[in-house]
Amino acid sequence: NGSKEKAESGVIKIALVIPSTIDDMAWSEAMYNGILAVQKKMGKDKLKLDVSERLWNAVDAGSAIRQYASEGYNIVIAHGAQYQSLLNDIAPDFPKTTFAYGTGYAADQPNIFAYDPFAQQGAYLLGMIAGLKTKTNIIGIVGPVESGDAIKYNKGFELGVKAVNPKAKVRIAYTGSFGDLVAAGEIAKSQIAAGADILTGTAQQSVGAIRVAEGAGNVFWLSSDMDQSSLAPKTVLAAQAYNFSKVIEEMIDSRSKGVLGGKHIPLTLKNGMEEIVYNPQLASEITPDMKAKIDAAEKKINDGTLKISVE
């Protein structure tokens, strides 16, 4: 009956809680842009959005989430894996509110969605691009911390490279921090100095590495989380981008059918919540031959004949 009320008023209030900021050019911004896109479609009067930033710490986030729920927001999105147990704690107290978090698989409560980017899928395709494009046969990954999405991404990427270019070496180095852009830049420099001509990486720190790749000249960057080509149009070749707007739409849709949660939403190439975006300015760098190979692989992934194991 809760959903009916909302349907009557016709306005959906979404609250977003993110660990970094809406302009981090990565994970948080991707989600923010996704919601904005839905808002644009539905109209500002139909979808209201409020954001709380820098709630990297789970305690602070918990308080924000609880407050949003008690203020009658319909959907509260806690955009990070670390928020899982918070939601499990809060959700039973607000049975009419939809909660969502990701990366995660466990939607243990009837009003929690767990969204789960299959980072390895897009990464596999990007890895193929890297393997095909590299001249030095050295490809560098600038990692933040070896965990969660970064592992999935890195593994998928490596498999993609090996699939098309077994001779190529993939070198991973971590900064030990998600936000240290300068350190990421330094690692990128070391990677380039050690011969890498294609770089990739995850988390908001990667912005620092992109800048270094751009400065180095003949190095390409492959983006994760979102299309980062606006940062370095001559360097960012392609991106594995999450289409969070579809995730949001699915949740809104579910609610209208009276389902407040309890679902695991994977973000895959197949369901279009994850996609490969090519930088139009560097379109000439991707030959039709390469494109064909990538598309073929994508097809295989989608029909299940190619499984990318991240175990």
Partner: protein, 377 residues
Amino acid sequence: MKNNEEKKKQKQERLLNLFIVVAALLVALFIGALLFIIAKGNPFKAYSVMFTRPFTSLFGITEILVRAAPLMLVGLGIAIAFRSGILNIGGEGQILIGAIAGAAVALAFPGLPKIILLPMIFMASFLGGALWGGIAGWMRSYLNVNEILSTVMLNYIAMQVYMFLLRGPLIDPKEVSYGTGVPQTAVFSKSAWLAKLIPGTRLHSGIIIAIVLAVAVYILLWKTTIGYRMRAVGIEPKAARTAGMNVQWYLLLAMLLSGGFAGMAGAVEITGVHHRALESISAGYGFSGIVVALFGGLHPLGIIPSSIVFGLLIVGSDMMQRAVNVPASIILSIQGLIILAIVSAQIFLVNPKYKEKMLWILGFNARLKNRNKGERR
């Protein structure tokens, strides 16, 4: 007669304290208002939310206490170290090591009953934090390595050790089997959860533990021979040595205790709030704890209210950011301003010269009276 006068004086002092703290706060808020204008937000609305909204709901009030618990524990540890002459800025690392040690115990003995398991977790966290603080303490005592240097470095090392354990040996097996790989432990068995004080809120019994420990620290520092020695060593190591105290050992002990308390703050967070250990368990409590301790006058019983005030500051500004829609960063800068203003105001409370002037401004004519009588102490 004399008693009356004493009382009047005490009343004046209290009034002065209040007046000065409020005045300092106003100055900070005024400068903060300029920041709001720069950030294109409405300062009036912001402040009214910040200082009233937390009190309008049970949720707000309980949240303040949820924050106060770890702050109090860290603050107590800092005060112990400070009183013994050591500036412990390694709280952040000690919290993490404490949390992970407690988590390891919670995961290893899920079947034990609550009254055994919880104390074991707290003990483990205490020992973990004590180990981390003790490293710095030992190096300071016996190798003469400056504790500021070592604790800054140890904070980074703790962070990496913590992450290593979380994504390796202690990771939730489900995270591995499912392939999400989020660095967090499995949820503890219920017997490792602190009791909830008020259902429907996050308020847990950690705050009671913290208050009890604050009293214990007070007793330790002022009512026991150990505390006597620790404070003596902090004030004048030379005299303490001449009086037969083992200065090095008491410095080390202070750091062990200080780290142990920070470690227990970690225990409170994992058993009271998250019920598991996860990334980013400390919201800078290691640093805020220093501020809390100093606001509390480095006195355990002062740290109780000061951690609650700081809890209000955190919760209130958090609510304010959502209400006014300004960048979250602005809260940090306003908290910074408040700290600066309040420490600046201390001079009016501590320095008798300024204090007299302030009393005079408030209309208490202590100074002139004394003078005419030509009184000597």
